[in-house]
Amino acid sequence: MTEASSLLLTFLREAWMALAGAFLAFALLAGIAQMLRVSSASVLGANLWVWESVSALLSIVVIGLFAFLGIPQIVNALQSSLPGGGGCGPISELGTLASGLIGGLAALRMLKAAFTSMLSASIGGASTFANALIECGEAIFGMILAGAALPLAAWFLGTC
């Protein structure tokens, strides 16, 4: 069980690193796309377009800071509240595996939501930052539910 847990968590960690790298690359591309829009709009004299691009640029920076500074702190805080290995025997191992996997999946889901939001902001679509926050809230709620369900399951299945 420990090996399976380690393997799955390594896979999720690599996915996290890849997603974070892609997030950074796409954030920079979105930034230069917005700067291109600002320069062309200022030449054309389109004031509204300039301000839209400036606000999109700011939103990209805010989403990047949220993704890189906020999400890891949220995941750390929630993961420390998840009951890991209560009891003993297979239930304990299963609890440890489950808490690790829940934390990993929730972290990836939150980063994916931020990535989608940043992509949407970069192409000038309606800001989906609210959707990203809702998805983060869903992930947090799922982790809290799992935190409550794990001890109940251990109690129901019997612990020593």
Binding site: A22, M35, S39, S42, V43
Partner: protein, 88 residues
């Protein structure tokens, strides 16, 4: 496992960055030419407001391009420094 995919994504992103940086320079040069034309036309028939607007436009365009080429890489470095390890 994700390294080959990451390499592909980064290669595409680098190409896109170079393309957009080139496009930004082209747009800025065209805009600068337009403002120069506006300024000279204004000077030719005594349109002082037109000339001053053209000068302001050129200065603004230079500021925007400098902002794009100096500020964006700094933001990238900042975010790169903040890039977190997996928190699990």
């Amino acid at each position: 496992m994700f390294d080959p995919i990451m390499e592909q994504i980064l290669a595409i992103a680098r190409d896109a960055w170079a393309f957009m940086a080139g496009l930004l320079i082209v747009v800025a040069l065209l805009g600068g030419l337009y403002f120069v034309l506006q300024g000279t036309a204004g000077m030719a028939f005594g349109g002082s407001r037109m000339t001053s607007m053209a000068i302001i436009g050129v200065v603004g365009l230079v500021i925007i391009v400098l902002f794009a080429f100096l500020f964006l890489p700094q933001i990238g470095e900042l975010l790169k420094n903040f890039q977190p390890e997996a928190p699990f």
